[in-house]
Symmetry: C2
């Protein structure tokens, strides 16, 4: 699990220095290119060898039955699985009569670079065929941010020392064979041959294939087109059949002569548009790409990223590995979200089939708060997508006998696809996470239009759920019983502090929103009595507290549960859920992921500093981080309570989750929320960013090995840049014509204006006591680098 | 759901006076004949029409995969389903060229009688064929108690007024087509064509078929043999093919002339014996039956039942319907258990495919305490079966990370087959139920041999589970968290009073048994420290109590949960589990079946009288009886707390569960535990039988409409007969040469000797206050009959 020497540490790129077959699967996820609309796994151009070929379109899914050994009322019977669509990445090469395959012959050199500023993956290969022909292959792959349905590949072959005949086959392949699924339930169900061929045609310089899914009724059209250059005498053919289209370019090259091919790929899909309309859409996309040409695509890509990094970059002196990792992380967050445009941001983005391509709560909890500050348009799109599924969420609530909206625990299209309700339907905090993301987005952006068109509906319908789900007991206290909080090792428990605190905010925010938007009362059937009920439930909300320990139990009674025997748990028994029954986990004080600690991040104004310190210490001892959604939050609170070096360790874990494959499942796709968490761990952790109640505040403080941290964020249209050094922090408005921005620095009110930066000293740290202890063997890896 | 007029009320038989096609499925269960080894549903001789043909052999099952939409550690992957084996009941009849089918022609008369003393079903039919031929058919069917593998049918045809040619086809049919399964998860999965033909042969007067199951590897051999009589000129043929054997008798009958056939059926199966051994076993069984002949089988059947009724009969004056029903109930309890002989007693006995033919906890909780007092040998056999599965239960516990034995929630062979752990694996009370059944059996019988060979192992291994499952909290209190008690509308909750009280007894009983049987310490690796840990856990066991209400919450916190809105629940929304998600049920104060009230029955010495009265009233308001395992217990406690007419109502419900099809699923098989509960509701309810701590006590008291109750029970080899009248009760030892028996009558110590009956007055009832209230629409039907 330590850094693999194949990957280099460089500030703005990730370089794979040689091809290690053990890393093949991980690299396919890490070198994936996507734009939120489409995603291509980092398969080799020639496709073989591969671990998992993958091409995905956001929301393009197939249905599959969800079976139950014993069914129950309200169990979803149909699931949704992302489809590996027609693969347009494939460019095969034959050298004389031998296929180019890195497993055969001699691989003199094989390097891949993910360039985080150019937004491309470059590959350079020098290969000697089994019969001794040496060639160089260079390719550059791009999924366009500027043109959402376009990907392109520049492919070049040059013989090194002897003339060769080369055959380059550029393909579209549908219904690729996929390796069998694993037993691990986290790994996606594999769908075999999900596409039914509808049309296939060739053009003068490419081909087009159209397919339909069997059950979900979606239509997909993929086109490829080509430019080529090389010595005279090249021969070119195109052919197209049901599941295969191929454009072949053949020629004879002298040493140093180059055959260059540019492949343009366009993807279009719809559940509604006709076959002919879709064909024309895709043809138009191809024409648009050819009009800009390869250089135009490259320059637009760089311009898009320059603007992104302007607000999204985080600079870090003192930990080069994390510096690289946080940029890698933000690049992939962008790739998951940029052109999602009113479609979901899935847990794995578009980098692999993990979790069936579903979106969960962590999009709203971890990803949207980051996008809100660096790409607010993408956050708005994701909120509009949730709003678009509100009708389905209302239906689901009605099925379950609840009021308001019950959003799905996991879904692609909006229908509940979870087959295990104790960790799905019962995790009602999802509604509060959505509401909270909307509130924070509106606060940070001042986007009144979204508040009106999306926010008020989401807030009111989620608030309604709490009223029907909870009740006032005979003492008047309002309880939310039988809920599963963020920690999936505790389920269907009572009064989860995280859920209750967020539900309280949700209720108050709904009441405020309803009062702001009386024009929606009629449509939503809101009245004064209902608003009063929301405020009453919020005021009476139970928040369990263990007076004896001075600790908040994450659910009622938690601190009296049996302790987990960590000393008797072997290293190979993690993750625990694969080695112990849920029943044992649920009955014990063992925490998969930050839960009460997560509450202390997002509802930090509800805890005293002393409670935070005690709580953090208590849960550190019991948190195993079997979820990738834990380290970033532990970093944030470790920093707040003064354990800065521990915070640094957790930052490393969050940022390196995928680069170091810490959960051994990066092969199935990247952990987008954990990658967003890398930003949170630095900006909310070391920077101390909080935005409770619409106030922007910072409490920056650096760990011993970091000498400088700089980041930017957007606040109501202005860009604020914060630079933290060991003893001072500087705040500067960077937007042209910026007026002023009010924020807090360690509690002190600051007014930052366009007149220039404001620098303040960082107060001395009050010693936080001895370092917290983690379960045996579960401490994060120490950051030792300089 | 009221009594169907097709069924008559008579003291010793159940008569179906005419054929109502709507009752076909129910009657197939009600007229089922079984002996614990084999069971034949009450299908018509000619098999058509039928709802569900069924022939079952105890423990003859097929495996089937258990699928999960989302799997989890420790989920069983293979289930066991009882197989509808080769059907030997079928005797078809053709009259001239028309098949005898009650749906065609004219059915002048159709009567079936289940004779509870003779142990047979008699059928009498007068039918006119579509072309006007009138015939009488009489048949008598028997499943032998004396010869476990034998069933027999006497079949007679007589033309009424015109000569006819009759063809009688007596068959063995394997892999009968079954109707499709229903959506209700309680209904068994249907297995299609589970039997693979291995051999088929004919004999001079019958045939034999041998089959194998595909997955479970069990071999089944079925033979039929025949005697016949009639006018001269009868023609007889036999043939046998893979899935069909047929013996045909053809002849011409003048009016009044009779064709009589006696069919002998023998069933044998094994997972180990060879095909030839099994063939010989079955041939020997046929020879044994033919040796006794039809009259011999009839007389042995009656003798067996005479002895049974001697100890099992309950007499009741004042409610003829319940009088009949309790005899019907005890007859079917006997049919489920009599020759089970170290095999399980399934929830449906051998009367239908419901619950996949599985055995659950209710065998030990409801059936064995009855058998202990009326057929102790059958109780011992069922305990020996559990003991035989101890190795599997130890393996299951080890898989789950627990010590001792984790018996399966549902099984045929001993492996866990439950596909929903919150209502399966979490229902750990099962272990205590088994331990309790063993303790009560040994107490009542004085069977030291079973104590030594079975009891001590069961007690120790079940006690070990509590130690590993529970823990002492920081105050020293011992908790069993995350358990599901008897009430399946509350799951995975903490400190279920029923479970904790029984676990406490289990721990103490294990400690006592270990001290009684030091010879087992080596084998079981018991030592003094372990015994001390059992006693310490027992002494510190949590028993939650709501001081404010003076009520025991059935689980910790129950009395503060949300109330169910019964007024808003429609009658067609019961059973609730088919109309509401588990999540809503689990979070609410709604009770499927007696749970705390069940604890008050079996651990009644742990509650004060005042607590019992308050608890009963509290849970009455919240108990919907969606389980058949509730009314009998509510009867027992209603009687104890003085609500005698309510007790009478619940007795009626328990006793008439199947005769009146109160849960609308009698078609899938009878509710054996509820039928045993009918005995409990009368003997423990009105008779006040308790056997806490090995002491036999009674507190008889009759409701207003019952003028006399008499029952017997066996206590350490002696038969005690108790006769209760409104103002007095008489106790009499009826065994030849009985010495003396000590018991209590309303707390008073009585010594009953062979010298003669002892009569005591019944103390006046202290007024119990107003009648308890049930949820809207869920009150039991009032007993109005005289």
């Amino acid at each position: 699990m330590i850094r693999d020497p194949a990957y280099s540490v460089e500030p703005w790129q990730l370089r794979e220095r040689y091809l290690d077959h053990r890393l093949l699967a991980r690299s396919e996820s890490i070198f994936a290119l996507a734009n939120g609309y489409m995603g291509l796994r980092g398969n080799l151009d020639e496709n073989d060898p591969h671990a998992l070929p993958g091409t995905y379109l956001n929301s393009f899914f197939e249905l599959r039955p969800l079976p139950y050994a014993e069914g129950g009322y309200g169990y979803p019977e149909s699931g949704q699985t992302i489809v590996n669509v027609t693969d347009g990445k494939v460019i095969r090469l034959s050298v004389d009569d031998e296929p180019f395959d890195v497993r055969h012959g001699q691989l003199r050199r094989h390097e891949r670079v993910l360039d985080l500023r150019a937004g491309v993956v470059r590959r350079e290969v020098e290969w000697v065929s089994p019969s001794g022909r040496a060639i160089q292959v260079r390719s550059t792959r791009l999924v366009s941010f500027a043109q959402q349905s376009i990907a392109a590949i520049e492919y070049e072959v040059t013989p090194v020392d002897t003339p060769v005949r080369v055959v380059v086959q550029s393909e579209l392949i549908a219904n690729e064979a996929l390796p069998g699924s694993l037993k691990d339930p986290r790994v996606s169900a594999v769908l075999r041959a999900p596409l039914v061929a509808e049309a296939a045609s060739t053009t003068s310089s490419g081909a087009m294939l159209t397919h339909l899914t069997r059950e979900s009724g979606l239509r997909l059209t993929v086109a490829m087109d080509h430019e080529w250059a090389g010595p005279p005498g090249l021969r070119r053919t195109s052919e197209a059949d049901a599941d295969l289209a191929r454009t072949t370019v053949t020629g004879r090259l002298a040493p140093g002569e180059r055959l260059r091919l540019v492949k343009f790929l366009a993807y279009g899909w719809s559940g509604r548009r006709s076959a002919t309309a879709l064909r024309d859409d895709v043809a138009a996309a191809i024409e648009g790409a050819r009009y800009d040409g390869w250089p135009g695509l490259l320059s637009a890509q760089r311009a898009y990223l320059d603007e992104f990094w302007n607000s999204a970059d985080v600079e870090l002196d003192g930990d080069a590995e994390v510096q690289q990792a946080v940029r890698f992380a933000m690049f992939h967050v962008l790739q998951a979200a940029a052109r999602a445009q009113d479609r979901p941001i899935a847990a794995k983005g578009l980098t692999g089939p993990g979790y069936d391509g579903h979106v969960f709560w962590d999009t709203e909890r971890f990803v949207l708060p980051v996008l809100t500050y660096v790409r607010p348009d993408a956050a708005a799109g994701a909120l509009r997508w949730r709003h678009a599924t509100l009708g389905l969420a209302r239906e689901r609530a009605a099925t379950l006998g609840w009021s308001g909206a019950a959003f799905p625990w996991r879904t692609i299209r909006g229908q509940e696809c979870s087959g295990y309700w104790p960790a799905g339907t019962a995790a009602v905090h999802l509604g509060a996470d959505i509401a909270d993301a909307a509130v924070r987005y509106v606060n940070a952006t001042g986007d009144r239009a979204l508040d009106r068109s999306v926010g008020v509906d989401l807030l009111i319908e989620t608030a309604r759920l709490w009223i029907s789900y909870g009740h006032h007991d005979r003492h008047g206290v309002f309880h939310l019983n039988g809920v599963t909080g963020p920690d999936e090792y505790t389920a269907v428990a009572d009064d989860n502090v995280y859920t209750n605190l967020l539900a309280r905010r949700n209720l108050i925010a709904a009441a405020d929103a309803a009062e702001r938007h009386r024009e929606r009362w009629g449509v939503l059937a809101v009245d004064d009595d209902e608003i009063a009920a929301w405020r009453a439930a919020a005021a009476a909300m139970a928040v369990p507290y263990d007076e004896q320990l001075g600790v908040h139990p994450q659910v009622r009674g938690f601190t009296l549960l049996q302790e987990w025997d960590f000393d008797a748990t072997r290293a190979d028994e993690y993750p625990l859920l694969l080695h112990f029954p849920y029943l044992n986990l649920y009955r014990s004080q063992v925490v998969k992921q930050a839960d009460l600690v997560l509450a202390m991040h997002w509802c930090g104004d509800e805890f005293t500093a002393a409670d935070k310190a005690r709580n953090f210490r208590y849960y550190e001892q019991r948190t195993v981080r079997d979820s990738s959604l834990s380290a970033c939050t532990q970093a944030v609170i470790a920093a707040e309570v003064g354990h800065l070096d521990l915070a640094h360790d957790y930052i490393g874990e969050a940022a390196l989750m995928d680069l170091h494959d810490l959960h051994r499942n990066t092969r199935d796709g990247l952990h987008i929320a954990s990658l967003a968490g890398a930003w949170l761990s630095l900006v909310a952790g070391l920077g101390g960013l909080r935005d409770h109640d619409g106030t922007l505040s910072f409490a920056p403080r650096l760990p011993s090995r970091i000498s400088r941290l700089a980041f930017s964020l957007l606040w109501r249209g202005q860009r604020l840049r914060v630079t933290v050094r060991p003893h001072e922090a500087t705040y500067e408005l960077c937007s042209p014509g910026a007026a002023e921005l009010e924020c807090r620095h360690h509690g002190e009110r600051l007014l930052v204006t366009g007149a220039g930066p404001v620098t303040r000293p960082i107060p001395a740290l009050v010693a936080p006591g001895p370092a917290p202890v983690q379960p045996a063997g579960r401490a994060p890896r120490r950051r030792e680098t300089g």
